[in-house]
């Protein structure tokens, strides 16, 4: 799905990573690891095309990778703060030509523990707690149902239950032949999931 070959990037002269090679095939999970400041988030941004200035090649299996790729980052839930959870999901799904009925949305949100007050009163997302926002972002990831997930610290702020739920979603996704590139410092997520690690920070 994704081939990264000989990728080199650095701010200034010092490279953050050098000659990086890896590829993601269906059903495979790649963990990007490294100490804080190693360049993991930068790597994800570069793969997505949100940052440029690298050398080396990044090749996606298909023409417009945005059709089948989803992205989440720690400070980027992509939520409109004044709108409700449902309004947010609807917008992002419609942009991907997914006409999910409100019932399905509500069910999914219920599964993520976003129910009662938050839905019915139409509480704007800005009033959600840290973990609820992240849950909403992951609900979107689940509903978008893309082939490739590029996820940067997905577990941030989640409680035990939500972590487990997400882990299950990741496993289902892999089983269905999806690919994942994940950055996480939290070993809980990867316990018992076969994965390859790309290590940054030695450069």
């Amino acid at each position: 799905m994704l081939d990264v070959t000989d990728l080199t990037f650095g701010f200034g002269k010092r490279p953050l990573f050098k000659g990086l090679c890896f590829s993601v095939t269906p059903g495979q999970l790649i963990r990007v690891d490294g100490h804080n400041g190693a360049g993991k988030s930068t790597l994800i941004s570069i793969i997505c095309g949100l940052m440029s200035g690298h050398t080396g090649s990044i090749r996606f299996a298909d023409d417009d990778f945005r059709k089948w790729t989803s992205w989440v980052a720690p400070d980027a839930n992509g939520l409109f703060p004044t709108l409700s959870a449902v309004a947010n999901l609807e917008f992002w799904l419609r942009l991907r030509n997914q006409h999910t009925s409100t019932d399905v949305l509500r069910d999914c949100l219920n599964g993520w523990g976003i129910s009662g007050d938050w839905l019915q009163v139409g509480l704007p997302v800005s009033k959600f707690s840290t973990g609820m926002k992240r849950r909403l972002a992951l609900a979107r990831l689940q509903l978008e149902n893309s082939k490739l997930w590029l996820i940067d610290e997905p577990l941030f702020g989640l409680d035990e239950r939500a972590c487990l739920k997400f882990k299950n979603h990741v496993m289902e996704h892999l089983q269905a032949g999806g690919g994942v590139v994940v950055v996480t410092h939290d070993a809980r997520l990867l316990d018992g999931i076969k994965h390859q690690t790309v290590f940054l920070g030695g450069a």
Partner: protein, 235 residues
């Protein structure tokens, strides 16, 4: 799982419509955002009335137009600088860049959004301004005034979206925006003002009017084209 992704992309027009709808939805979720530019215009006019001394009656009508234009301009500036506010929060903009939509559709949606709220601001401000200056509403229903205003609005909207998109990811967007916006808006403002002034003086279609309107239209075209062409694509 839809791994063989059925068409996960919507048509250009649908995209524009969806984006426009969402922008308006955000505006409505916080309607103060729409009202404030009007308040602001009222206060700008009030300041003018304090600061600017009594005028010769002969230039009074020109003064009315001038003050109306300035008030509109300040109000629009406020409107535009907020047009990208929701995209900046929580990195919605990056998410939009990674959604399967055309950059030009995004820009077009934003331009339409800005035009919608801009026209609202403009209409209300003009009415307010003529009333507050004790003028007849006929002044602002003059087709030439309306035409010049619309052309100016289009130019300003194109420019605003262009710059907002460019500076969106720069630190301190709030500051960069006026820094570029004001100088670049001068041609549009200047030509619309001058075209209008020429009209007000003679009430006939003169050469000077023609040349100023040509400039106005040229700048509209330039800014609009640039905005759509230089849409913030994936880098």
């Amino acid at each position: 799982m839809a791994l063989n992704h059925p068409e996960r992309k919507i048509s250009w027009f649908d995209t524009v419509a969806t984006l426009l709808r969402q922008s308006l939805r955000v505006d409505l979720s916080y309607p103060e955002r729409l009202i404030t530019p009007l308040f602001f215009a009222a206060i700008v006019l009030l300041l003018f009335s304090f600061a600017i001394p009594e005028q010769d009656p002969s230039i009074q009508p020109r003064m009315v137009i001038a003050q109306t234009q300035l008030a509109i301009f300040f109000a629009l500036q406020l409107t535009f600088s907020r047009a990208f506010e929701s995209e900046r929060s929580d990195r919605v903009f990056e998410h939009l860049r990674l959604a399967p939509i055309d950059a030009s559709a995004f820009t077009m949606g934003k331009i339409l959004h800005v035009l919608v709220i801009g026209s609202l601001t403009m209409i209300c401000t003009s009415v307010l301004s003529t009333i507050l200056q004790g003028q007849d509403l006929a002044v602002i229903t003059d087709p030439i005034f309306v035409g010049a205003s619309i052309l100016a609005l289009v130019g300003l909207a194109g420019l605003g979206v262009l710059l907002a998109a460019i500076t969106l990811r720069a630190d301190g967007q709030a500051i960069l925006f006026p820094l570029l916006y004001f100088p670049l808006s001068v041609p549009v403002l200047l030509s619309s003002t001058e075209a209008l002034a020429a009209w007000m003086e003679r009430r006939v279609w003169t050469d000077s009017m023609r040349s100023w309107s040509t400039i106005l239209i040229a700048f509209d075209a330039i800014y609009l084209t640039l905005a759509v062409l230089l849409s913030p694509e994936s880098e």
